[in-house]
Symmetry: C2
Subunit: 762 residues, 2 copies
Amino acid sequence: MAIGKSVKRVDAVAKVTGRARYTDDFYMPGTLVAKYLRSTIAHGRVKKIDTRKAEQLPGVEAVFTYEDVPETKFATAGHPYSLDPAHKDVEDRRLLTQHVRYWGDEIAIVVADNKLVLQEALKHIKIEYETYEPLVSPQASLAKNARQIHAGSNNVIGESGYKVGGRIEEAITNADIALQNRYRTQMCQHCHIENHIAYAYMDDLEHIVVVSSTQIPHIARRIVGEALGLPWGRIRIVKPYIGGGFGAKQDVILEPMVAFLTLKLDGRPIKIDLSREECMIGTRTRHPFDVKMRAAVNKDGVLVALEMDAVANTGAYASHGHSVAGAAGAKTRLLYPRAAMHYHARTVYTNTPAAGAMRAYGAPQVIFAVECMIEEAARKIGMDPVAFRMKNVARQGDADPLSGERFESCGLIECLQQGKDLIRWDEKRAARPKKQTGPLRRGLGVACFSYASGTYPACLEIAGARIILNQDASLHIQVGATEIGQGLDTIVAQMAAETVGVPFADVHVVSTQDTDVAPFDTGAYASRQAYVASNAVFRAARELKAKILEHAGRVTGILGGELDILNGAIVDRKDLSRKVISLKEVALDAYYDKQRGGQLTADVSHKTCTNAPTFGCTFVEIEVDIPLCKVDIKEIYNVHDSGVILHPVMAKGQVHGGVAMGIAAGLYEEMKIDAETGKIYNNNFLDYKIPTAVDVPDIGCEFVETYEPSSGYGNKALGEPPIISPPPAIRNAIYDATGIAINELPMTPHTLFKYFKEAGLF
Amino acid sequence: MAIGKSVKRVDAVAKVTGRARYTDDFYMPGTLVAKYLRSTIAHGRVKKIDTRKAEQLPGVEAVFTYEDVPETKFATAGHPYSLDPAHKDVEDRRLLTQHVRYWGDEIAIVVADNKLVLQEALKHIKIEYETYEPLVSPQASLAKNARQIHAGSNNVIGESGYKVGGRIEEAITNADIALQNRYRTQMCQHCHIENHIAYAYMDDLEHIVVVSSTQIPHIARRIVGEALGLPWGRIRIVKPYIGGGFGAKQDVILEPMVAFLTLKLDGRPIKIDLSREECMIGTRTRHPFDVKMRAAVNKDGVLVALEMDAVANTGAYASHGHSVAGAAGAKTRLLYPRAAMHYHARTVYTNTPAAGAMRAYGAPQVIFAVECMIEEAARKIGMDPVAFRMKNVARQGDADPLSGERFESCGLIECLQQGKDLIRWDEKRAARPKKQTGPLRRGLGVACFSYASGTYPACLEIAGARIILNQDASLHIQVGATEIGQGLDTIVAQMAAETVGVPFADVHVVSTQDTDVAPFDTGAYASRQAYVASNAVFRAARELKAKILEHAGRVTGILGGELDILNGAIVDRKDLSRKVISLKEVALDAYYDKQRGGQLTADVSHKTCTNAPTFGCTFVEIEVDIPLCKVDIKEIYNVHDSGVILHPVMAKGQVHGGVAMGIAAGLYEEMKIDAETGKIYNNNFLDYKIPTAVDVPDIGCEFVETYEPSSGYGNKALGEPPIISPPPAIRNAIYDATGIAINELPMTPHTLFKYFKEAGLF
């Protein structure tokens, strides 16, 4: 039995020995390299461009500008194609642009036979701009008479919301206490280790092969087809190992361009390998949110109503557009499903780098606001923040108030209880002076989250698995779901081993996705894969097992129904310890008997029409150094209900990474933009501070294992959730320590200084 | 409808533009190269080997000798694994050898970071041999007290035969006329354009990837596993486009060595790229045969009996061993199925390069003997050779006299009639003087052949096909059968298009075999693929079509059974001109509807338990220049019954190539070996004469289209057969022109001079 065991990752050796091959580790003789010419203004229009001198440099193969690329506008978001025209992503981007919309926008591209001349050639391109005032904030782009960043948009890309639980004004009026506040989150970067990279080539005149570091090979195939106006079947995307994505590679960024270039340049291999500086501005960021909140609460601790009005800044191009703000709001009603709740959001264009998907897809932003507000409410009525949450959060038997879908598994209250015990909440609070006064002050904080295990019913949820029985009784498994470092390959190998009945070590995973042959799946995002793929793998494994037993029946003369497979042997179903024949003998017979059998495979495509909510919370104890305005995390615990934990060590790894990223968002990271020019100050790792090993404390992690019946193996989402609740928990702990409510991220010393000064601490 | 049309080859553009990538077109950073140290004696033993100096050369990574490789002996023949231990290939080879068995035997291997140092390093390896007398001919190795080339073999690797049609001695005694003679064929080389090449690497510690120019990826996977003692599932073979094989790549020659080297050298990529000189001695040759024949014939033209006693020279190692001689004899009883027939063959080791599979697998050798003997018989009774054959060859309704399996299709008599008409046989013979005397003499010749469409029931016949419906209504098809230049990819695309009902241009073929994901098939040999794969492709296409119609039914509300697919549209089955919905709409719905459908695929593994005989003949008119001893082909026609012709232009191409190769075997090619030393004289294209465009005449080609019901599309074998009958037809034409019977191949001026002189022509 492999599920629930911390087996060795299937890619562990490849990765620790450096043998694993990433996109840049492949090389095709004659590969050309390409580099974008990026705008040096944030808003304007190219009046004139002269590329002649660049073209004449030895080594330069070609220069393309906005004049050379298709007129087609396309969307880059990594969403499944939708049959509903109203549900399509916004198509607002060409391969290159004359209209400059952010500092670094892509105007032209140089192709050369070496990297050195690329840099030189870019310098030789002469540009004249017509410049406009950069609209760097939503306030600016929403101002009356603001210039339209995309014609006809009024700088608003989308607007939506929901209302559940009755009339909110009435609820607020009738409640014991009403509160309101405003919370802001910052622009962040994904900071995946491997920058965006892709290359393309053609082996004939029809088929384009793109090798890319992408989370979404099958979606990339479609979008390349759409961007170039080619039938999708002529595009092939290959995804080797990838060095992280966190959502930045859930966008189709380089693939259409390298495909375009190889099409133009006789099918020659052409690579684009973004630098870190380019990657930080020219790919995607996390949407900054500005959330106005109102809440109503009764003195008995019942949360009556929550109202959220969010403005999300999507930057210069749509990318995931309004989906992030839309999806983010949906999570809060799963968290407090019994309160009246209104959510409204607008997503706004600005002249800043385009925002897209990033780990937890808007939930960290909205839930920061919510969990700050909840904290205010608990404090207002003088109730312990944990007790207040325990009273109001989702519990077994609740349902999504909008869809009415009942939660089949919900362990959030148990998570809160466990987190509270771990951090010794009551004990520490009891031991502490009522009011702290010294330079070092301790605080305890808590925050909760809920999340989903996919995107259904907003989007399609489909997964595929094909399993082959090899002659040596091992299995090969192909899935459409993509390994992007999170351990998906190991998980599907566990699932296949579990259900077919072979040792885990006998499952070989085809890790490289190749859209020509990989089963269809939309890719790595929305914490969906282990949940959605579980049903496809389960069905394929069960089907293969049935075929094996049927063939074992032919070989042994025993009815297949009387047999089972255990640890690679065919056994008596009624007495599992009685081995009937080895699986290898059955496999060899299936392959090599001259008449009966054949290669035994199972090939399953499965649509998942459920979406299990997943829950959890963060408990943190911090010490604030008042003079230094610095927060020191003493203890931090994330406790998750992610259903059955398939692989405890990898699950913990996922939580450790997510919490570290949450701490980073809470205390460190922010992309800084000059308000005048729209220029990004810190698109590099010297100036953009990510916490390192010395900044991140030991992270505690526990699981409340529930069983989610809609999943093949009882599991639910875990990939993104760990990032969500640490920032509000830290904020609430600072509040607890200092009595000062910080209402914006990141809570750097600069921010704290501003708040502490306002509060008269200095 | 795609079957029977000369559609554009799917790889046409890739190949004519040079975009198609072959094994050597791939490059992995850090690839090491390796080269064998080959013996400079033909028979002996290495007493001492000193590699130290070579190892010390800068750039040399390692030197391995017979002392470093596994003790395991393995077989290299590209046969399916057999469940019957008695039917296994002879395991007589280690990766490197101390016991030298032919001139060029592999004693050691040097690995270096560049090719130049390899050559240098080989010179620095010091060897002392103990030398034995080379046994260069079967006579020598069968002589009493001859040294055993492989201990315990008595230099005989196998012996077999069959007897059908009653007692042969009685038949010969009772017949009007008895004849006997002896015929010899030569050692040939395949002369594929792309030499043997392979490289291997590891991405982890368990899985070995071998990229190789092979006809048999799945078999190579097994044999690498066997040679290295590893589970087969840990081996992955990748086959890109390959530049010909003709059977030389139906042997697993380099794959186990590159796999061994990467295992030893930390998984680094290691390539072996044989030179033409190495390829000609160190891979495989065609077995020379020495066939003693007896025949009995009645004056009324009935062939009563044929007896064949063959000795095949397999050279130094087993490779395909006795299978070639065994399989070759089976074809003659399909050709003259009503005669009493005895076949006996022995296959003998000698100290010459190892013989293996080569186009038509022994049939050219045995059928040369048979069709010479048949010619003698016809002449002896004064009957027209065509008429004599028409009276005796297989016809519709005949059966294999050994198995009793009836021929479902047989158009040989029609082939003879058509060939006779094409060459104007009767007219030319009538117009010719009874006896020619000048220096230039004309002659007409004919010869027949039969062949099989696979290896069943001797071996397993299995094929696999997986077809995917893409979103744009195109298909991707994966097959286990391998494209090796013959056009297999195009054929399977035609089959899939035909049966699913989409335009041929909408079928994309996954040409690269990758044993991790490609359906199982044993590979390209035995002219099996189009026949055996036809059933797998047909079944997969039919299954996919049914799934498409079922889904179309869901979308349209019309029962799937009332729909059909025509030219990429869903139509009314009762009125095919009435389009109901486009296939693309159905495909998009199947992929993207949130609840119903899924990616539609079909994945079929099929065992073929039939084996359709295929027939044909060659007619040739030649002019012999007596003083120059030179043969000039004036006209040559091959007429084939290969069932339904799937692609007329490619079929003709296949025939043109085969006939050219037959002419080469008849008049030009032979590997020359020094009888004293066993050294090969002419292992290069300066000294080994293959006919070029100026040597090969226009080749006429026609087909008698029968319908073979055991095949998915009515087709039968065509790959190898065209090579079989040209040599005896040419020989018979020389006989006709000169009255002199040449009983050996090749019929070069040297050979003719010898015969002409003996006959007193000079």
